[in-house]
Amino acid sequence: MSWQAQLVLVLSALATMLFVLRLVRRRELRGKYSLLWLATGVAFFVLALVPGLLKWVSDLLGVGYPPAILFAIAIVFLLFVLVHLSWELTRLEDRTRALAEDIALMRSDAEEDS
């Protein structure tokens, strides 16, 4: 990897982490979601500083083309995040449904009382 590419990678990893931390500080991102993205930032940071790491992993797994490992990991990670988000979304939908039901019931109670 050229030093230019390395520099860009390090800087974007740092920027990502700072941005996520800023969102957490302003309470615009919950702590639990921030952990995933901070971990991603750290991973990229390490990969950029130690380019040999990717080569080492690909040799270990017998993959001839090291970047393929990176793509594979990225895709699996993103799939994981998407499943997680779908899970959270399901929970949210269940909660809003319960809320709407509660309000409907309370309204009918209030109307019967008046």
Binding site: R22, R25, R27, G31, K32, S34, L35, L99
Partner: protein, 237 residues
């Protein structure tokens, strides 16, 4: 006599709640009691009502932070001048409540009942892992606030009206919110103090979180605390 509200966040605590309410009625009859049932699946709310407590019922389980937050809003809306927070599992002795509230009258905004402060007693079993986590938190809180607190996760606290007002707008809602709230209160310039208290073993129920989830909670909390350490204060809504 100042208008005082005792808040008890409760999640499936039908077993221990009657004992806590009975003690409060005997030891602190002048205080109003508000039980927040955090999406309980047992008879927590019914038990509390039967005992004459005020009850807020959340339609789903939102966590202790959210339960406290709605209680603080209730306190603000109803003009309470002092608010105390007590656990539903019977760990906290209502006799001590008066001592916490007395410090509010002396001008403190947030009084934390500490298990570990000089003079406090632990008749109380904390797991080794939890104790290590608490130690890390203690050091972190010291770095962030410049103050030494011995029991950052205590759920036995008393608050002044301005403190409750502040919390009703900005109380954190994720697990171990008490530490975040403590740091937030210090940074916002409130007068936060800690006094030693005795705590007893639980009357019922088990610690809400352990093992991997507990570790995850610690990591999350450290990230949030460190992230919050600099720059402008959080957006409140």
């Amino acid at each position: 006599m100042q208008k005082t509200l005792v808040v008890i966040p409760a999640y499936d605590e039908e077993a221990s709640l009657p004992g806590v309410l009975k003690e409060l009625r005997e030891q602190a009859p002048d205080f109003d009691v508000l039980v927040v049932s955090d999406g309980s699946t047992d008879r927590t709310a019914a038990v509390a009502r039967a005992d004459g407590a005020r009850v807020l019922e959340l339609p789903c389980n939102l966590g202790i932070g959210a339960a406290l937050r709605v209680a603080f809003r209730y306190a603000v809306n109803h003009g309470y001048e002092r608010v105390a927070q007590v656990d539903a599992d019977g760990q906290h002795d209502p006799v001590t409540l008066e001592r916490l509230l007395a410090r509010i009258d002396d001008g403190a905004d947030l009084v934390i009942g500490s298990r570990f402060a000089e003079g406090g007693a632990v008749t109380y079993d904390v797991s080794a892992f939890r104790r290590r986590g608490m130690k890390v938190l203690r050091h972190l809180v010291k770095r962030l606030t410049g103050r030494e607190f011995t029991d950052t996760t205590s759920g036995f606290r008393a608050m002044s009206q301005p403190m409750v007002e502040h919390f009703s707008r900005s109380y954190p809602s994720e697990y171990m919110e008490s530490v975040e709230a403590l740091v937030d209160a210090c940074r916002a310039g409130f007068n936060v103090i800690e006094i030693p208290v005795n705590m007893r073993g639980r009357e019922g129920g088990a610690p809400s979180t352990r093992g991997f989830r507990l570790l995850y909670s610690y990591v999350r909390l450290v990230v949030v605390l460190v992230a919050s350490a600099g720059g402008r204060p959080p957006v409140t809504r």
